[in-house]
Amino acid sequence: MEIINGFVDSIVGLFHDSGLMVLGWQNYVMILVAIVLIYLAIKKQYEPLLLLPIAFGMLLVNLYPSIMAAPTTTLQPVTEYMAEHGGQAGSYAITVLNGVEYYNVPEYGGLLYYLYQGVKLGIYPPLIFLGIGAMTDFGPLIANPKSFILGAAAQLGIFITFIGAIFLGFTSKEAGAIAIIGGADGPTAIYVATRLASHLLGPIAVAAYSYMALVPIIQPPIMKALTTKKERAVKMTQLRTVSKLEKIIFPIVVIIVVALFLPSAAPLVGMLMLGNIFKESGVVDRICKAAQNELMNIITIFLGVTVGATATGEVFLTAQTLGIVVLGLLAFCMGTAGGVLFGKIMYKLTGGKVNPLIGSAGVSAVPMAARVSQKVGQEENPSNFLLMHAMGPNVAGVIGSAVAAGVLLSVLQ
């Protein structure tokens, strides 16, 4: 009889500890959202490298919230502890309260809590930038440095969205974190969000990566609406060849300028340029490959899963998330429009030598945004190849959004 009672008690205890008793309705909704995102990542291949770990992290945290639990300390009277442990003293720190000695018994946090420290402390995004730098060819930008103007113009969306967010009732720090979605750069968005409004990280990261995946759908209508047929058909002259020496000098010059004028952007731009000098120097092939592959892949897993794990039901299912989704879309659209409009100005100033379509690539989202410029250009003129011309503003956009992030951090932090 005692065995059966013990068995029943154990089963009841397990049931009370199970997710069925602990989880709220918000968790179940988020589990459904996570499954939809997993479907989109696998079936539709929407940024699967990031969306899949993000969605799975979301799934995990909503099934087992303690996986993101922070470590805690419990105060246990020393006498009670020793009685429980056969008279043996513990090796914990002691706190004395009202003359009674207590042990500070630590309780460890969840797995993802520890992995999340890399996001919280701003470690993962710069490391991702290191990998991006090791993979990026800045040649088209060096060949045509004017592309920087388009990379700057496309950051317009960030600052206009900031105004929208302020007027929607967000605090200035929250507005800054939301506005950076317009930079179309995942690591930058995460970096700024953790520094300015870490409680909004989940919705911001999901919105940023979702819109980046939707670049081929969001951008073309704006590009076509703002340009004429004649402008879209412009063929650009071939870019000059860039020497190896120029490619080696580039990362050094960029980091000197950015770190001197805007130190808050130095961690992101610094790592980007470090990765790039690994690539261009040609003398650290093994390190370069490690940055491009192993390091990048490991950090992507940690970043994706832990960012997804911040999207718990209570945090995600709020009116604020809806606001972030709408503002993120506005930021993307305004960024695209800013780039194209400056492209039009360059078209006029150069006497029709610049195709304004390359301006939309200034919103980062490498290389998707450049591919969109190529595709829209070829629709108008099948013999037109804008890809390499669009890569200039595209990589300039990465630097531009990191600089914009530095401005937001300097002004708002």
């Binding site: 930008l141 060096i142 440095p145 004017k146 920087f148 103007i149 990379g151 700057a152 950051q155 317009l156 960030i158 600052f159 206009i160 900031f162 105004i163 302020i166 007027f167 605090t171 200035s172 800054g176 860039v242 020497s243 020496l245 120029e246 000098i249 580039f250 010059v253 960029v254 300028v257 950015v258 004028f261 805007l262 650290v284 093994r286 300039a396 630097i399 531009g400 600089v403 914009a404 401005v407 937001l408 002004v411 708002l412």
Partner: protein
């Protein structure tokens, strides 16, 4: 925040952001353009100097008839003449100028390691 405060914050960030982003990127345009011009000039100068040196040191030399690489023995059976010709051409390209290169025999390797395995060893043993 009241409306005025919101407006002031928004416009401050908008103005600061746009001015700083454009200023930093304009500075980069200037420096990179400058670097491009200097590097191109420098590389052209180096090329010109090299060309000048070459023309100065070049003396009219009578064309030397080089001996082609000789294949002294027949290759192992199963190796076609084309393969022998390709190997002879490669050896000639590497050592032909010395005039002493001679292929004595051509044998198939025992293939104890696959090409992938060799590539792996090469990749892992290459120094930093």
């Amino acid at each position: 925040m009241d409306i005025t405060e919101k407006l002031i914050t928004s416009l401050t960030v908008l103005l600061t952001g746009l001015v700083v982003v454009f200023a930093v990127l304009f500075i980069l345009i200037g420096i990179i353009k400058g670097c491009g011009i200097i590097v191109t000039k420098f590389e052209n100068m180096v090329k010109e100097k090299k060309a000048q040196k070459e023309t100065a040191s070049a003396k009219p030399v009578a064309p030397v008839q080089q001996k082609p690489v000789q294949v002294t023995e027949t290759a192992e059976s199963g190796i076609s003449d084309e393969i022998v010709a390709v190997i002879a051409a490669a050896v000639d390209a590497m050592y032909g100028s010395s005039g002493k290169a001679r292929i004595k025999s051509i044998k198939k390797s025992d293939n104890s390691r696959s090409a992938w395995s060799k590539a792996g060893i090469l990749d892992n043993t290459r120094p930093f």
